[in-house]
């Protein structure tokens, strides 16, 4: 539906489309600044270095997963299985650690496992041509199930304190966690690939019109296949991070995280129909979601109620562009009768 209403505008010229994106980005950035201002003024303890550290460290998993998710949604697909892959990898990580393997060996193995899990999605979507929504609902259940097969209802918690607390290290007294740096570097790499390479631009082309992209010589199936592998590998990183950050490998680790990731990506202005969106917007979406959650947590809103906010923002993110487009058509109609 959205595609139908916005397509003519985009065909006419690229300028209006970019203008629209800019205005959405501006709105999100204003929302970020506004939420910082309001939270600092009303929530005690929000604007402290200690809390900044917590906020940023909690952003890491969502930010990581949002990077490949942006690319996948841009091509018009979706990956609902990321949180389950993270949980599965977390359990394998725990059981390998319990078996006495060294971290130098476990971490590469886990990343490969994540990539293979993603490749299963990729084969089903790009080779068999199945809808990614159905495939990743299936693998969401499959990988979460395998996580419980690996560890049952047990938890592995025997990780050395030196590592688990090392992850919380801050840069000096600034409160900024050390481990946000590699994540930011990865985000920059994703941004450069998405916005400054032919490969990156081909993703939007696929999402905009798969057929046209194919005629333009883009290898659609191959591209999607690789995106799902990357998504799986990044989900594995999140699984490892989650395990060490909380010092516990459990079957239900990272459950439901896909909601926050998809909400952040759509809030960042990426169209669920594919073809439109940019990474700076997504990062703003991740930060906005993180700030709101953090401020409400500080205000002692219970965790179960917080997911209501995420769900609400998710719906708002998809309804708002349509509402804006609709009101524009209305005003255009009334101005030119």
């Amino acid at each position: 539906m959205l595609a139908e209403t916005t397509r003519p505008a985009a065909v006419r010229d690229t300028a209006p489309r970019l203008g629209f994106l800019r205005s959405w980005d501006t709105a999100i950035i204003i929302a970020v600044l506004l939420s910082i201002a309001v939270a600092s003024a009303t929530v005690t303890g929000f604007a402290s270095p200690r809390n900044t550290g917590f906020l940023l460290i909690d952003l890491i998993p969502i930010l990581l997963l949002a990077l490949p998710m942006t690319l996948i949604i841009l091509t018009g697909e979706i990956d609902l299985s990321v949180a389950s892959v993270a949980g599965f990898v977390s359990c394998v990580f725990g059981s390998l650690w319990g078996a006495g393997l060294s971290l130098e060996l476990i971490i590469p193995l886990c990343i490969v496992l994540g990539a293979v899990s993603g490749a299963v999605n990729g084969v089903l979507v790009s080779v068999l041509g199945l809808p990614s929504l159905a495939v990743t609902i299936g693998t969401l259940a499959l990988y979460r199930g395998l996580a419980f097969v690996v560890l049952g209802d047990q938890a592995v918690t025997s990780f050395p304190r030196a590592i688990t607390s090392g992850l919380q290290a801050k840069i000096g007294a600034s409160g900024i966690p050390v481990w946000i740096i590699p994540v930011v570097i990865l985000a920059i790499i994703f941004g450069v690939v998405l916005h400054f390479t032919g490969f990156g631009r081909s993703l939007s082309a696929i999402g905009y019109s798969e057929e046209a992209a194919r005629f333009a010589g883009i290898r659609v199936a191959q591209t999607k296949f690789w995106l799902f592998i990357i998504s799986g590998a990044v989900a594995a990183l999140v699984g490892i991070w989650w395990t060490l950050r909380y010092g516990s490998a459990r079957g239900d680790n990272a459950t439901g995280l896909e909601l926050s990731v998809i909400a952040a990506v759509l809030l960042g202005g990426v169209s669920i129909f594919g073809g439109k969106g940019n990474l700076p917007g997504v990062i703003a979406g991740v930060v906005l979601l993180g700030i709101l959650r953090n401020a409400l947590q500080l205000a002692r809103v219970p965790e179960d109620t917080l997911s209501m906010l995420t769900g609400g923002l998710l719906i708002l993110a998809v309804v708002a562009p349509n509402a804006i487009a609709w009101s524009r058509t209305l005003s255009r109609r009334s101005s030119t009768p």
């Binding site: 539906m1 959205l2 979706i78 089903l124 068999l128 041509g129 199945l130 809808p131 929504l133 159905a134 495939v135 609902i137 299936g138 693998t139 969401l140 259940a141 499959l142 990988y143 979460r144 199930g145 395998l146 419980f148 097969v149 049952g152 209802d153 079957g251 439901g256 909601l259 998809i262 909400a263 759509l266 669920i272 129909f273 219970p302 179960d304 109620t305 917080l306 997911s307 209501m308 906010l309 995420t310 769900g311 609400g312 998710l314 719906i315 998809v318 309804v319 349509n322 509402a323």
Partner: protein
Amino acid sequence: MTTLALNRQPSAAWLGTLTRSREFSVFLALAILVTATVAANPRFLSAQSTKDLLLNSSILVILAVGQAIVIVTKNVDLSVGSVLGLTAFATGKIFIALPDLPVIAMLAIGIGLGALLGAVNGALIAVAKVPSLVVTLGTLYIFRGVDFAWAQGQQINPSNLPESFLALGSGAVLGLPYLALIALAVVIAFGLYLRNYRSGREFYAIGSDVLAARLYGIGVGRKVFTAFAISGALAGLAGVIYAAKYGNLDATAGQGLELNVVAAAVVGGVAIAGGVGTVYGAAIGAVLLTTITSALPVLGVSPFWQRAMIGALILASIALDRYLALRTERRLRGHDKHAG
């Protein structure tokens, strides 16, 4: 697929059609599973455990019928588990406030509340033109959040519920549990409606080709809205039944159930691409899934495999659907060549 089957059917080929149908193959899988489990432990099919199996299936069957209607229109409803949870908790709360409320009135309230929640989904999808996946993923968490905020950690016990209501959850007539009879009635009612009524067929038209359906004059938005309202209403009914069956209620009732429901429909031959499938298939899929769950321990498989198997079943079913669709397409092309 449905229209093809109608065209290609000479008078006495019903047996062939039956054995080729997806419902039959799922039923066969169910029969094989039951046979294997009974061979491992003959008590699996005792009167008591058959009754348990029927009781346990009925909630999933009712939800799968609603989901089938939604998926036929090429949408998906991920919020059913949360709608069930919210109505189940509401049932408990209402009975605490009004202990003398007749059971039938409670069923009506549950259906109404569920339909209202489903209408929220339907309105967002049909009016705001937003994909159902995103909307119902959002409302999955919103409805659950409302449930948690309302419950505040408190729990409702069977002692809070009237005797007559609990009897609905455990009672039986002629060996058939009431709940199974309700589920059966739902399946048959919607099965007949979808197959024999014009407004029922319109759901398939939308799922097969939305543009053609619109051209034909079907109010697509209103129809999709109706599908979600039905799915919500059935989830509401399932919520009341859940309360009657379990008696112990907190805000987590039905959490994660949406995966089983989607799996039941998809395994039962309701294609996620829309336009194909029956509520009978979805219902058999739901019974199959429930049977797998209770057969696993009998067969000596760890219950932790349950969710992984549901995932594998979803993948196998959609891959099979795709294969069958491609084969039909190829065969039709072959026919064209012969004709021309």
